[in-house]
């Protein structure tokens, strides 16, 4: 300890300072981690967010029903032939967010349109069967959606999104994912 050192050579004290500082930093991180993580969705909320099953058989042709998954509203529309035709005959150039109707439904189950029910502008719930195309109309700022839930006119930027869902059999679907 009595030897002289030049400024350039690190001393034992430097090592101790840095080692202590690094250990303290790791310790503080370990301490902070639970306080941050406790805000993550808890086990009960995650359990309540599990996929939901829906029986389609009571839904009449032309009817729209609503349900919630993870707190978000979902429209299930049993479309008529005419509604499907109208959606299929729309040219892509007429769409603000071009997307063919075929890609928004399950093949062979084209009459079932399952979409999120909040306007993609600012989140209001649009009105069923309203607007020029008798799809949906959002009264908040005038967005018009067609029978495929696609934005046609108005401020909404994208089509009403499709949630993840699968057909368990011909009349039952499971909406959501784990």
């Amino acid at each position: 300890m009595a030897e002289t050192t030049t400024n350039a050579e690190p001393t034992r004290r430097d090592f101790l300072f840095i080692a202590t500082g690094a250990t303290a930093a790791v310790g503080l991180g370990a301490l902070a981690w639970p306080f941050v993580m406790q805000m993550a969705p808890d086990a009960a909320t995650v359990a309540a967010g599990a996929p939901v099953e829906l029986d389609l058989s009571p839904i009449a042709e032309g009817q729209i029903v609503r349900l919630f998954w993870r707190g978000k509203l979902i429209f299930v529309r049993h479309r008529t032939e005419a509604e499907i035709q109208q959606a299929r005959e729309t040219p892509m150039t007429a769409l603000k967010d071009p997307e063919p109707d075929e890609e928004r439904v399950v093949a062979g189950k084209d009459q079932w349109l399952i979409i999120f029910g909040n306007c993609t502008h600012l989140g209001c719930v649009p009105l069923d069967f309203a607007g020029e195309y008798r799809g949906w109309f959002c009264p908040c700022h005038g967005s018009v959606f067609d029978t495929s839930g696609r934005i046609r006119t108005g401020p909404a930027p994208i089509n009403l999104p499709v949630p993840p869902y699968t057909f368990v059999d011909d009349t039952r679907i499971v909406i959501g994912e784990a």
Binding site: T11, R13, Q38, M39, D42, A43, A44
Partner: protein
């Protein structure tokens, strides 16, 4: 008081800008960096910093718990179990908060006993001491209301017993109680307002703590010798010496807290509080948490309800008069051999009262509690005033440095460290 040798000088432009508008860096520097502190402080002086850390811990864990807790009588108990089982690390937050409260009181009792032993309450620190008594009262109120929130059997019945006490107030007692309850008995309105006040009081506590530290910094710290700083040699700067010492002490304290949190988290609690509140069934033994037991013993020792309540509050209020009750001109018990005996008798009395508070109020326990309650007050009202007049204190050292280094003063005595070695940070 020794002059502050170093004042803060801002080094860069941003610091200069802030300092000229709000001199907060300078304030922190003069209070916690350059602040001169007696060089003979022992580890009993680290509990102030520990208490500050515990207050922050309680507030942070408390705010986190409040994100998941529901303060409604029908849902409170279940929401606490939801925290324990569903919320990520919820069990840790809850156990930290519950055991943190106990350790907050461990630290405050040690801190208070230190003050009593070394005469830290004497002039010119009377206001500092009285602010401390106010802090203790706020802590007790906060802890009491916090314990009600889980809405277990002890929560409900402890709330019932303690709120009922206020009915002894003459004339307005019953109105006061009904306003505390927000109804005709402890119920949901009570729970809701206790939650609100439990969230509020810690921040008021924080304000009083700021005053407490301010009142301390006017005369500076007391020290084990009880004599003031006479020259620069008697003092060392708060940073790095006290910052490092407080950090070490805090780490050891947190290790002990962690032992409880991780290995025995329910040891200090009561099993009955894991039973949801049932207004139709009273637990066989209603006991408060351990830190209230001595006061509970005093309350129950007096057969008359009103006098019992008065005695309980008086046992805390008498502390505020300590600066004037103790007539000794000598501050520190280190130089008061007779006082030391009575001090430890007082500590034993407090522990004894605590034990009796947990026992049923029957037979021999009642008599013992009455004797110890009498002695508790006698210590303050009879022994301390008389001791100062009749005891023979030991001669005081000439200075703090002399009490450490010996009469030479220049540090040549064999037991002390070479002068200068301790106080100089390594210069490179």
């Amino acid at each position: 008081m020794s002059a502050h040798s170093t004042t803060y000088v801002p080094k860069n432009a941003a610091a200069k800008w802030l300092e000229s508008r709000l001199p907060i860096i300078g304030l922190v520097h003069s209070s916690f960096v350059a602040f001169p502190v007696p060089r003979n402080l022992n580890y009993m002086w680290t509990f102030g910093a520990i208490l500050m850390a515990m207050l922050v811990l309680q507030i942070v864990t408390g705010i986190v718990l409040a994100m998941h807790y529901t303060p409604h009588a029908d849902m409170a108990f279940a929401s606490v179990e939801h925290i324990m089982r569903d919320v990520h690390y919820g069990w840790l937050m809850r156990y930290l908060h519950a055991n943190g409260a106990s350790f907050f009181f461990v630290a405050v009792f040690i801190h208070m006993f230190k003050g009593m032993y070394y005469g830290s309450y004497k002039a010119p620190r009377e206001v500092l001491w009285i602010l401390g008594v106010i802090i203790l009262l706020l802590m007790m109120g906060t802890a009491f209301m916090g314990y009600v929130l889980p809405w277990g059997q002890m929560s409900y019945w402890g709330a019932t017993v303690i709120t009922n006490l206020f009915s002894v107030i003459p004339v307005v007692g019953d109105v006061v109680v009904s306003f505390l309850w927000g109804g005709y008995s402890v119920g949901n309105p009570t729970l809701n307002r206790f939650f609100s006040l439990h969230y509020l009081l810690p921040f008021m506590l924080f304000g009083v703590v700021i005053l407490h530290i301010w009142a301390l910094h006017v005369p500076g710290n007391n020290n084990p010798a009880g004599i003031p700083i006479k020259s620069g040699k008697d003092a060392i700067p708060f940073h790095p010496y006290m910052t490092v010492k407080d950090t070490l002490s805090l780490v050891i304290f947190l290790i002990v807290l962690s032992w409880f949190v991780f290995y025995m988290p329910n040891y200090l609690g009561h099993a009955d509080n894991y039973v949801p509140a049932n207004p139709a069934a009273t637990p066989s033994h209603i006991v408060p948490e351990w830190y209230f037991l001595p006061f509970y013993a005093i309350l129950r020792a007096i057969p008359n309800a009103l006098l019992g309540v008065i005695a309980m509050f008086a046992s805390i209020a008498v502390l505020a008069f300590l600066p004037w009750l103790d007539t000794s001109k000598v501050r520190s018990a280190s130089y008061r051999p007779a006082f030391r005996v009575f001090f430890w008798l007082f500590v034993a009395t407090c522990i004894g009262l605590g034990y009796l508070g947990a026992m049923p109020a029957e037979g021999g326990y009642v008599v013992a509690a009455q004797i110890l309650t009498f002695y508790y007050f006698a210590h303050f009202l009879v022994i301390l005033p008389l001791l100062g007049l009749f005891e023979t204190p030991k001669p005081l050292p000439n200075s703090i440095s002399e009490s450490i280094f010996g009469k030479d003063g220049s540090g040549k005595s064999g037991s002390a460290m070479p002068v200068g070695a301790a106080a100089q940070p390594q210069s490179k």
